[in-house]
């Protein structure tokens, strides 16, 4: 058995109106070279102008990852030649990244784990290349799109942990509204560094790097395959080569190139972007925009609301749902009711009707109102569910639906008694069967009659009690 040491480098495109250093629109497009400017092409004479929104979002994400922010924003140049890098250098952050020395608490299954963040920096994406048999094409749409890179410390020890971290990280991006983080659009990509060491060893093993993995399932597959591959080599007394590998569709990894020496990127401070000081006021303003995040909410839902881990996780997964759920409670609903109704009824209905949460008609207040009526036994559970469905579908206040259809349960004993007595008087044969033949089930017949007469609004429990009371009264009178 070996100890597995994994570090991740996650790239995530930042959602902004324009690119990181130009005025081109920052959007995903399948039409090549549609959103391209002179700056994105690296033409002679161009100058970069940083996007304030991108910087702000990178700082915000760094805060959400408990990082320290720098005293000023500066950028550096990373120099290397590659056809997807039009300027021959990438503008990135080395000297003062937007965040350093942070951490993210995550759940791996139900276990808590702290993943340490080495740094978060803001840079620009490269163009994308498409290779054909004897030529390649360059699409500059992606060139210059703001990109955050989050580098973890080598503190992850399994595929499970890695994937849990990536999911938690994506959740941070979504909660903070900094990115759509869609793997299928290449908006979130991951490099995995993995090495194995013998139990008890203090020196890290030789590192293998796997670059540009989009899907989390592929991250899992790649790690699991590498653990197996490297273990087998080490078991046989072999040594691991320092190299870069890629994962193929078959779930196996293949060597791309061996790393002899690390590339010298000749970093230096970008001279065209003067440093901009970050004031405490500005940073506080950003900090205030960060919502309570998933991890804290899961704990709160368990500890304060008494929810199961599973329920807490489902509710906290999406910020919109979590906020809705919490507002239902604020409107006076019992947390247990709010949880089960939001998870099953509300989300179930939205799913079935294919309505996004953002277009949900019933407000937390409306839902809390219906839940209150159920608690007060004024409407039945079944009725409640139907009303919610109808309210969502017809975009109508559920309380209005209840009122218009006189759905509130008849709890008035005298009123129900009148109906019971009438039913008994009108059906002497059934009364006889109950008294003389002892046919107990006849009482259900009377419940049905009363329900029919009251348009199913009579409280079934009260109705049954009154029927038994009246029938027994007649039985006693018979015996006299």
């Amino acid at each position: 058995m070996y100890k597995v040491v994994i570090g991740l480098e996650v790239h995530c495109e930042v959602k902004t109106k324009t690119k990181n250093f130009s005025n081109s629109i920052n959007t995903y497009s399948t039409v090549p070279n549609e959103h391209v400017s002179t700056v994105d092409l690296g033409l002679p004479g161009i100058l970069p102008v940083p996007n304030k929104e991108a910087v702000r979002k990178a700082l915000k994400t760094a805060m959400a990852l408990n990082c320290k922010n720098p005293d000023e924003v500066i950028f550096d140049r990373k120099n290397y030649f590659y056809p997807d890098l039009p300027k021959g250098y990438q503008i990135t952050q080395v000297t003062k990244p937007c965040g350093i020395q942070g951490y993210l608490d995550i759940f791996v299954g139900e276990e808590e784990k702290r993943v340490y963040i080495h740094q978060l920096h803001l840079e620009e994406d490269t163009a994308s290349l498409e290779h054909f048999a004897n030529y390649s094409l360059i699409d500059y749409n992606r060139s210059g799109i703001p990109l955050m890179e989050i580098v973890t410390e080598p503190c992850i020890s399994s595929a499970d942990e890695a994937v849990s971290f990536l999911e938690a990280l994506r959740n941070i991006f979504l909660y903070c509204g900094v990115s759509e983080a869609r793997s299928d659009k290449g908006q979130m990509r991951c490099d995995v560094n993995i090495s194995l060491m013998k139990e008890g060893d203090t020196k890290l093993g030789t590192k293998v790097e796997m670059k540009n993995i989009n899907a989390f399932t592929s991250v899992r597959a790649a790690i699991e395959y590498e653990i197996k591959r490297q273990s087998e080599i080490l078991d046989q007394g072999g040594t691991i080569k320092q190299e870069t590998r890629r994962i193929d569709e078959d779930g196996k990894t293949y060597s791309m190139r061996e790393k002899v020496d690390a590339i010298d990127y000749k970093y230096f401070i970008e001279p065209n972007i003067p440093p901009v000081k970050l004031t405490p006021e500005y940073l506080d303003e950003i900090r205030k925009e960060i919502p309570v995040l998933e991890f804290a909410r899961i704990k709160k839902y368990q500890n304060d609301f008494g929810l199961s881990f599973y329920d807490a996780t489902v509710l906290a997964k999406d910020r919109g749902i979590a906020d809705y759920f919490e507002e239902v409670i604020q409107e006076g609903a019992e947390p247990i009711d709010a949880a089960s109704w939001v998870m099953t009824v509300v989300l179930g209905t939205l799913n079935k009707l294919e309505i996004p949460l953002t277009e949900l008609f019933i407000t937390p207040k409306m839902l809390a109102g219906v839940l209150r009526l159920i608690r007060q036994d004024k409407i039945s559970l079944n009725h409640g569910k139907k009303i919610i469905y109808q309210a969502i579908e017809e975009k109508k206040d559920p309380l209005v639906i209840i009122e218009e259809n006189h759905i509130e349960q008849i709890k008035d004993d005298q009123l129900i008694l009148q109906h019971v007595q009438k039913a008994i008087e009108e059906n002497p044969e059934q009364v006889r069967q109950y008294i003389e033949e002892g046919k107990d089930y006849v009482k259900n017949f009377f419940v049905g009659k009363v329900m029919q007469a009251t348009n199913r609004q009579a409280d079934p429990k009260v109705t049954l009690e009154l029927i038994i009371q009246e029938l027994e009264k007649r039985k006693a009178n018979e015996g006299k």
């Binding site: 004479g45 590659y82 056809p83 065209n272």
Partner: protein, 485 residues
């Protein structure tokens, strides 16, 4: 007065009172450009079509030359390099846009040292630029064509760029005025970058007044250049004749005191003699001028620090020239080979040498010792200058230790003192200080320049003092071939 001697305001008057039209001026300039192209080689491209957008600017209808490292949409822009010999940019530099809006009329794109690197005007892919005062001599660079076409009288002004002395040195060798305002005063957007932290845009004219007029048009905050300065209300042209009484100037004793030289430094002594004669006359006009010791070590460090920083930045800035996005596509079986081939064929030896130096300077193992130390030296020098600027309004120096050299005679095997006197102008780039060169006399029939460098952002003060120096020196508006004494 003939066209060649006229300043912007002379031409302005004629245009305004209807004595001539802007088309006629353009045609005259065009004819002169063609006439002297073979001897001077000032232009990479002469733009034969009259294009003008009328405006109320003083530059409306005035012909000019633009250094061929400013991006001009649909007009060939080569930076005098083979790797860009067919490059037609799709966008306009901010400077060019402003000149178009002001109604100035482009006559041609001027020759430079390849990629603005080099100070001789001899490394353009289209051949050497010759000094209009003597075709056996170079004019200096890198803004060689811009200096030559103004010295020749083809246009009253031209635009240049200055990273070490690329406007001010050729201006001195051409007997004209070269002005590099404060770093950020004029937008660099669209100027092909050489060394971004040192690159300046500036003007070449035949009088201080024209430098002020053109700078007034070009200056201003540009949202496309983050390093550009906020707009200021001051109009330089209107303040040219403000009083300079009591303005204090200094010069470096190490390089300007005659006793530091021996008899064999004949030319330097002649230059310095003229320099000190002029200083005496300036003192009579109200300037207070004294020599100070700057520190030999710091002076010695200017040139190596400049080379270290500029080569490093240049390596990175020109990494876009790979023949992939634009330019001649190289040959080869891999992408590395293709880029390698394009760059091998596209650059001259001098450029390749500077890129290799720059790359070496930036390497991880050398960066601290070379690049970062050069930056620290730069800071020391700028701090020392700023300290002196607490007492003085400007640094006054000979622009060079001699007249324009003959082709081939210029070498680095000159005396140490001479080198110092040749290379102090980069001070202005280190600190981004406004700095102007103007004619102070002649030696062997060739013009000599004097340089004035002032406090950061005080472009107006520098121009006002320069106006006074021009009045005293008396070489306003000279053109190659004029009587020279």
């Amino acid at each position: 007065m003939d066209y060649q001697h006229q300043t912007i305001m002379d031409l302005r008057k004629q245009l305004d009172d209807g004595t001539c039209t802007s088309e006629e001026l353009f045609q005259t300039a065009l004819d002169l450009a063609k006439k002297y192209q073979e001897s001077d080689n000032s232009f990479v491209t002469i733009t034969p079509e009259f294009k003008q957008k009328k405006s109320q600017s003083l530059l409306n209808g005035i012909p000019y030359g633009l250094k061929d490292n400013f991006s001009t949409a649909n007009i060939l822009t080569t930076a005098s390099s083979n790797i860009l010999k067919d490059y037609i940019p799709p966008y306009d530099a901010t400077v060019y846009k402003k000149l178009k809006q002001s109604g100035a009329v482009l006559v041609g794109k001027t020759t430079l040292d390849e990629l603005a690197m080099g100070g001789t005007g001899t490394t353009a892919h289209t051949g050497v630029v010759r000094n209009p005062w003597d075709e056996q001599r170079l004019i200096g660079g890198s803004s060689a064509g811009s200096a030559a076409c103004v010295a020749r009288g083809i246009v009253p002004f031209a635009i240049g760029s200055d990273t070490g002395d690329s406007i001010r040195k050729p201006a001195a060798f051409g007997g004209i005025v070269g002005f590099k305002p404060t770093y950020g005063r004029i937008s660099r957007y669209g100027l092909f970058a050489f060394a971004s932290s040192l690159d300046h845009v500036g003007t070449l004219t035949r009088c201080v007044e024209d430098a002020a007029i053109v700078t007034d048009v070009l200056k201003g905050k540009d949202p496309l250049d983050m390093t550009s300065l906020e707009n200021e209300d001051l109009n330089y042209y209107e303040h040219l004749h403000d009083d300079i009484k009591g303005r204090k100037l200094f010069y470096f004793k190490e390089t300007c005191d005659l006793e530091n030289y021996s008899a064999e430094d004949e030319e330097v002594i002649a230059v310095l003699t003229k320099f000190h004669e002029l200083l005496d006359r300036l003192r009579k006009e109200g300037f207070e001028i004294e020599g100070i010791s700057f520190g030999k070590d710091l002076l010695n460090a200017i040139y190596p620090s400049y080379m270290t920083i500029s080569c490093a930045e240049a390596t990175s800035n020109n990494a876009n020239l790979t023949g992939i996005q634009f330019g001649p596509r190289g040959e080869g079986s891999s992408i590395e080979e293709i880029m390698f081939d394009a760059r091998t064929k596209g650059f001259s030896e001098l450029i390749k040498r500077r890129f290799i130096l720059g790359s070496y300077i930036l390497q991880k193992e050398n960066q601290e010792r070379l690049f970062l130390n050069a930056g620290r030296v730069r800071r020391l020098i700028v701090d020392r200058m700023n300290k002196l600027f607490e007492t003085y309004d400007g640094l006054i120096m000979p622009a060079s230790g001699g007249i324009a050299p003959k082709f081939g005679e210029r070498s680095d095997e000159l005396s140490e003192r001479y080198l110092l006197l040749e290379n102090h102008l980069a001070l202005g780039n280190f600190g981004g200080f406004p700095s102007i060169t103007l004619p102070m006399g002649f030696l062997h029939g060739m013009p000599l320049g004097i340089n004035l460098t002032g406090r950061i952002k005080e472009d107006g003060v520098v121009l006002t003092m320069a106006q006074k120096i021009e009045d005293v020196a008396g070489y306003r508006g000279i053109v190659a071939g004029d009587q020279n004494v």
